[in-house]
C-alpha cells in the first residue's frame, strides 16, 4: 500500500476516533442527556447547544478554508465529495420530522449509536438493528 493510501485510511480512522471522543467528552453518548435537551418543559439540559456551538465554530472554519486550499483538492484524494442537492421537498422535511421523532423517543442518533456499540447495551443494539432496517426500507421503496 502506498504511503498516501496509508495516510488516507489512517486519517479517516482518526477522524472516526475523534468524532466519538468528542461525543463522549460532550456527554452526547448518553441518551438521557440528549433526550433531556429535548425535554424543554421538564428535565431540560441545554448542554447540546454548547456541543453544537463548539462543533460549528471549527466546522465553519473548515468549510471556509476549504475553498482556499492549494490545488483545490483534499490532501489524500483527487476531489472533494460534497452534497449537491438544493431542493427542499417533502422527502427532506418529512424525513427530518420522522428522524426527530425517533431521536426524541430514544435519545439516540446514528453517530452515538455506533459509538456505543462497545457497551453491548441491548436497547442500543436493538436501536441499531431497527435503524439499519429503516435504511434498507427507504432504499427498496424509494430507490433513494
Amino acid at each position: 500500500m502506498s504511503s498516501l493510501k496509508s495516510i488516507k485510511f489512517f486519517t479517516v480512522f482518526l477522524s472516526g476516533i475523534l468524532f466519538s471522543i468528542g461525543l463522549g467528552v460532550s456527554g452526547m453518548m448518553n441518551p438521557y442527556k440528549v433526550r433531556n435537551f429535548l425535554d424543554l418543559f421538564g428535565n431540560w439540559d441545554p448542554s447540546l447547544i454548547f456541543v453544537m456551538l463548539g462543533a460549528l465554530i471549527i466546522s465553519t472554519l473548515a468549510f471556509r478554508l476549504q475553498s482556499r486550499m492549494p490545488q483545490k483538492k483534499p490532501l489524500c484524494e483527487d476531489e472533494f465529495c460534497m452534497p449537491t442537492a438544493t431542493v427542499i421537498d417533502w422527502r427532506l422535511t418529512g424525513g427530518a420530522a420522522l428522524f426527530g421523532v425517533g431521536w426524541a423517543l430514544s435519545g439516540v442518533c446514528p453517530g452515538p449509536a455506533i459509538a456505543n456499540i462497545g457497551t453491548m447495551n441491548s436497547f442500543m443494539l436493538l436501536f441499531i438493528g431497527a435503524m439499519v432496517l429503516g435504511i434498507f426500507l427507504v432504499r427498496f421503496f424509494t430507490k433513494g
Partner: protein, 149 residues
Amino acid sequence: MSVMTTSVLTPFTPLESFVGGLIIGVSVFVLLYFNGKVAGISGIIKGSFFSAKKDLLWRLFFLGGLAVGGMVVIKVLPQNTALTFHSHFLVQIIAGLCVGIGTGLSNGCTSGHGICGIARLSMRSIVATLIFMGAGFVTVYFAKLWGIL
C-alpha cells in the same frame, strides 16, 4: 412517571460539552482536509451498504474508528455512555425505524445536517435541523404527557 422507559436527570455541562463539540469539529476538519468527505454519519452508514466497492473501505474505516473511540470513552468515561441505558424494546424498535427511514429520506442526521450542513450554510440542512429539533421537542412533550417516556 413513565412505566415504559427510565427518565434520568443529567447535569448541565456547558464546558465539557463545548470542548467535546470542538473535538467533533476537529474530526470534521480532518475528514474534509485529508479525504474531501463530509462527516455525515447516517450517509456514511447508508453508503457502506449501497455504494460501489472503491467507495466502501473509507466508510468502514471511519465507522471502525467511531466504534473504537467509543470503546475508549466507555473505558474512561463510562457514566457518559449508554452502558446502563434502559428503555422499552418497542420504543427502541420504533425509534430506530424512524431514525433509519427519516435520515434515509432526508439524507442526513445531527452530524450531516446539524453540524456540516449548517457549517456549509446549506438551506436544506438549516431547514432539516429546525424540523428535527422541533419534532424532537414536540415528541418528548407528548411522549411524557402520554406516559411513554
